[in-house]
Subunit: 295 residues, 4 copies
């Protein structure tokens, strides 16, 4: 089961109506169709790029259901869960399972820093509550919690359905350590866009990315070249898309992707306040990058 996720796992942003800021489910369906038409290998709604942190519970559930239905099992779906309390995380995980998700991706979020025991108990409680696999997600920059490779390996041992790991610290040595500590038996996924080439070289099973919202072809070309061992092509296609990857990371995924979609004539609204639309300067830079890629 755990090995079904591989390749380019695409993170759709959550469209908001330009009129009233409400979640725009029809546009979400169109976006998912676009991603699948682009050839991505899996869909991951409600990740960081999906602004899940800024949705009400009702909105969250609507996005989860709609996404799973829109995918129609054409590829696997993994639903992101990042909640401050264990109780809410369990409620959402059960909802996702009932709605037909193939897996959930779980990011512990801190207000108060959590110690190792607290993190393990958080995953164990969610794991016990559902029957589908969990992708552990480490992203201290957004969540405020940094799980060491040793802690991640421990959770994989102690919680049965934690069977995949997404690493977003941007430190390739974390992936090396994880591979060593799990004897290469736990598939890991890259969550730091500019690290894609290095992570695939290190043996990552897939790349979790919001870039396909703007361009699915280049991430897929990188993955394919690396699978074929064609390092030179991989390097070429990686450096080609690197300016885009760097900009979406630097200016924020939902902010930059939504600005880019608008440049591509696909209106998915703006991010929610306090997030603001991309600045004019960065939009200009993004426009130049997208033009160069489509040239």
């Amino acid at each position: 089961m755990s090995t079904q996720f591989h390749g380019i796992i695409a993170y759709p942003i959550t469209p908001f109506s330009s009129r009233d800021g409400s979640v725009d489910l029809a546009t979400l369906e169109k976006l998912i169709d676009r991603l699948l038409a682009g050839g991505v290998h899996a869909i991951a709604p409600l990740g960081s790029a999906g602004e899940s942190a800024y949705l009400s519970d009702e909105e969250w559930e609507a996005v989860a259901s709609t996404s799973i239905k829109a995918v129609e099992k054409r590829v696997p779906t993994v639903v992101g869960i990042s909640d401050l309390t264990t109780e809410n995380a369990i409620r959402k995980a059960r909802f996702a399972e009932r709605a037909g998700a193939d897996a959930v991706m779980v990011l512990p979020v801190s207000y108060w820093k959590l110690n190792d025991e607290e993190i393990v108990l958080h995953y164990a409680a969610i794991g016990n509550a559902i029957g589908i696999p969990i992708m552990l997600y480490n992203n201290p920059a957004t969540s405020g919690i940094d799980m060491s490779p040793a802690l991640i390996a421990r959770i994989c041992r102690e919680v049965d359905n934690v069977t995949m790991v997404k690493e977003s610290t941007g430190d390739i040595q974390r992936m090396h350590r994880l591979s060593q500590l799990t004897d290469g038996a736990v598939p890991f996924y890259n969550g730091s866009n500019p690290l894609a080439l290095a992570a695939l070289a290190a043996g990552a099973t897939g790349w979790c990315t919001a870039a396909p919202n703007l361009n699915a072809a280049l991430p897929i070309a990188l993955y394919d070249a690396m699978r074929k061992g064609d390092l030179e092509s991989a390097r070429t296609v990686f450096y080609k898309q690197l300016p885009l990857l760097q900009l979406i990371v630097k200016s924020g995924l939902p902010t930059t992707v939504k600005a880019g979609l608008r440049l591509l004539d696909f209106d998915a609204g703006s991010p929610r306040a306090p997030l603001q639309p991309l600045s004019a300067d960065a939009t200009k830079e993004l426009s130049a990058i997208l033009s160069a890629l489509s040239a």
Copy 2:
């Protein structure tokens, strides 16, 4: 108006029922009475210590209303607001104002990092929505957002009702900078417990602290000694309480304060999962510290 807050601003924890984990408002009232009996100069419900991040909206409103009523205007009340979206922050700020709060304390919380413009707009939107003063709160360790002294000074200039600043980074040089950049005209408050002596020496108007939940006499004694310029007594009383301050910071405010209240025969329940009760070892250490202080 802005100068009414001074001295020891006490942060009550939010008691939960040991039976079912629900908010225990009756115990909250008792706790606030205890704090006032101890002589604190202001009450600040729903701060970090109050686990506001782990409350539902309904619970948050109940704690805000109950606290304001329990204080009965004996001292000023400042209500903490730390929300991911500007919309929710405004809703809570308005609720607090209607419920009779003397001020709100606003902490911007990040999932996606906010740039300076976004932070200014967040404060401006809240400021425009209410008529009571705002205490700007900087605490990157919990919120993921670090506001530089220059940005804080700018917000104080641009948003009329931001009239006070709480600094919790633990870097005394931030307070120096803030004092310089505002020509000493914006009162600042220390939010980093072990920095209390240094901050008062640097000119802090008050100390925002959860320590009075366990011992109000020592923080008040420090404040009084510093106001009188009795540096030697201040130093003595500071070093006396320092082990308590260090432990509550190291082990987490709600976790440690709730364990301490239990040791003092005042049951306020445990923190909410994923937070766990204080470990046995740390509880032993806390018990020894509290015994030494009451000796």
Copy 3:
């Protein structure tokens, strides 16, 4: 013996000839006379400000001898030693003792990071080689080695003649910890200029500073006010000199002090390459600050 050092411990820069860059011993003597005339409580040649890192062994010895002679026992002299090898540090410590130094200040310098054992052995070897007290000096920003309060306390216990500690990390909590771990029995000195007020509030015995090269009166006034417990005056005089302290730290001590001496018509040359003279912009800022202080 250890308690003889207190108050303002002044760090003379090392003058270089504007003609050929050689060490200018005559100007060094004049500078020391100036510092003593200004009322400082001790002299510390060959510290960080003294560019000891950029001197040949012969130059180092000449500066040590000349300084000790110029002080003429009017106040105590502590000679700075910061060498990459234990052997060279011992050689210099013995030289300083023979030349009449009252103490040496020892900073371990790293190329390869040192572990705790290696640092303890370094201090023990130097301690065994000399009969005068050692001031342990912690300054990770220049030396690359950060000694925790626990390690510093251990060295004070294990090496007899380590009887004083100079802390330059700029973290007031280090001083609190040190005081706790040594039961207040080891005098500590502030080495981070902008921390002076906080450190003296926390109980520092003295302040090690290069500021007196440019203005001795203000540091002495701060020390005196704090000794008298006149916190309000202390605060006033601290904030008055703070812009100077911030600038010399930000732009580098020898670079900024030498530019300032030139502005004060006291030519002590420029720092050694790769260090360059202070930029025109910073010199202008420094000039404005010095004018304001002398007004």
Copy 4:
């Protein structure tokens, strides 16, 4: 000229006599012969691993001359220069050129932090003084100076004979940036051992490493596999040597390599104090790793 350096650039440690600690030139010659017999593509004496920071000027010159002679032009030689003053760095660079070095590797070392201008002037002064190429070396962990990719690219533009870059920060994104900023025209070399696979994937021209002192076959096998585009073999051989790479970095290159050489019956003495011989526990771990590699 700049492209002559490629592949595995081996960094010999500097042997010291077990009798009196003096530099053991005869053993150095034997070590260099061993490295060349192992098939490395270049030799780099007096790097970080060579303890250049702990040698007197006379010792440094003897190691430089002896190394160049021992290599006998069988492969290129690059001599490491890391001095606190520009004057000393120039003197050594000229010595190396006269002695027949093919290039020098220059690391600016800080006591006082250097600004960008000071770093550029340092490289320019050295570049003007010699006629052989310079490999710019960035290693903030040992030198205290961190050069951004933008600064490095600027130096490559402004100083003619800076034609190669060695990056040791362990951040693969620095190499991406450097490649982008120089349009791929400046060859870069990996100096962070555990980053070897990622760096070669990213397009590094070579790998600067002390690992060949203990095992030359595995680094060479990694380089060869990557050149052939055999990613799977590369990954296998990388993970095989990774424990060795991690240990030599964690415990310090000269310390660990010298302990390893002793385990391999090649006595090169111990590192110089304050460095101490490898601890018993780490030696045991190293012994197990070396046994596994030779099995």
